[in-house]
């Protein structure tokens, strides 16, 4: 880039051009270049010194930021690995259990742990390490649950209604992940006696409120089911986690079961 003007000598024009090149390098986070200070102490030398010092400070801050990012990445990676170890331990323990009721409890616990591990796995792979896109999370989680719970002859399909990308931080993603896990698990376990049907998962927003809607085409809740009295651990968790999100839960039993969580 060449600057010209009546008051700028060709020599100074060249010096200013070099300064601008160095500034552009810094903008690309390349701090290897420095401007040349001629030593005559003029204003351009002053500018050179200022740019050089700014580059040094920026480099230092950038390195520090990169170190912190690396550390955060490492933490998410380790949390994910530790959760997977817990999940594997539960798996190993389940091998000696014959009682289907206990086995179900272990599988449910393992899936809850896996839903949290997936949040950390996606966080350390994400660009800013703080938020993940829930659409991709929902697809991966529902697929994992399907593989874990479906019977060999099952034909249960997932229908996703996620029209745009929604990003959430970990404080929202963990409860949301657990809620989604519980709802899909309930549907997989109770909604389809003939192992056929569909589960719809949608997310939308309006007027600052985000709504998670999960519905199935199954048989619905048993007649006379009382949400307050008869809730299993999964339902209790859904209610508790919705409160944690400062959200509102609405369960509808018509034409299957649908959970509407607005937060």
């Amino acid at each position: 880039m060449i600057l010209s003007g009546d008051n700028i000598s060709p020599e100074n024009s060249e010096r200013i051009s070099t300064i601008l090149d160095v500034i552009m390098s810094y903008a690309r986070l390349d701090f290897s270049r420095k401007t040349f200070i001629s030593g005559n102490g003029d204003s351009i030398d002053a500018l050179c010194a200022g740019v050089n010092m700014l580059g040094e400070e920026l480099e230092s801050s950038t390195l520090s930021l990169r170190e912190k990012e690396q550390l955060l990445k490492e933490i998410h990676h380790r949390v994910k690995n530790n959760l997977q170890i817990v999940s594997s331990l539960l798996n190993l323990q389940s091998e000696n259990i014959k009682d289907p009721a206990y086995l179900n409890m272990i599988v449910a616990s393992r899936n809850r742990i896996n839903s949290m591990a997936l949040v950390h796995e996606m966080l350390y792979a994400s660009r800013d390490l703080t938020k993940i896109e829930i659409g991709e999370y929902i697809k991966r989680l529902s697929n994992n649950i399907y593989l874990s719970l479906s019977k060999p002859d099952a034909s249960i399909h997932f229908v996703y209604n996620i029209e745009k990308s929604y990003y959430f931080e970990i404080d929202k993603m963990i409860p949301l992940g657990l809620i989604i896990n519980e709802v899909i698990t309930n549907s997989m376990k109770y909604a389809f006696p003939d192992n056929k049907g569909s589960i719809g998962i949608g997310i939308s927003d309006s007027d600052g409120t985000t709504t998670l809607l999960i519905s199935d085409s199954g048989v619905g809740f048993p007649k006379g089911f009382n949400l307050e009295k008869d809730s299993n651990l999964g339902l209790q968790l859904i209610k508790m986690l919705t409160e944690q999100l400062s959200g509102k839960l609405n369960i509808n039993f018509e034409g299957g079961t649908s959970y509407n969580i607005a937060f």
């Binding site: 002053a46 500018l47 010194a49 010092m53």
Partner: protein, 132 residues
């Protein structure tokens, strides 16, 4: 530009002349086109510290001939995180170059002792006297 001439008893290092003035103010002046790195900064502050005799003192830095100062040297001169025998610092600047370096030092490194920039030695010395 009024110049400060180091007395014969001043200690000379690679980039500085340093001595204790008869007024109780320590003075250190940079040599022409001085390029100050951490090694040079540590050498200078060791000389300054060696002048301590039971009482902390103000420091007048003549940086009018400076050419550059590295980030590490600026951090060291800020005296943050290290013991220092100085009560205050007045930095003499004149050329645009020395002004930029001085202002950058003051703005980014924030010395732990009272510090100000001056373009006159007499005004700097007058200000430092309150910290004797």
């Amino acid at each position: 530009m009024e110049t400060i001439t180091p007395p014969p008893y001043a200690t000379e290092t690679g980039n500085f002349f340093t001595w204790m003035g008869t007024d109780g103010i320590c003075r250190t002046i940079t040599k022409p086109a001085a390029e100050i790195d951490l090694e040079s900064a540590v050498e200078n502050s060791n000389i300054v510290t060696a002048l301590y005799k039971n009482k902390k003192f103000p420091l007048l830095v003549d940086s009018r001939n400076i050419r550059s100062m590295t980030k590490e040297a600026r951090r060291h001169f800020s005296t943050n995180g290290r013991d220092t025998k100085i009560t205050s610092m007045a930095i003499l600047v004149k050329s645009p170059l020395s002004r930029v370096i001085g202002n950058f030092f003051m703005g980014i490194n924030k010395p732990q002792v009272p510090t100000r920039l001056f373009d006159s030695e007499s005004e700097a010395a007058q200000w430092l006297k309150q910290y004797l």
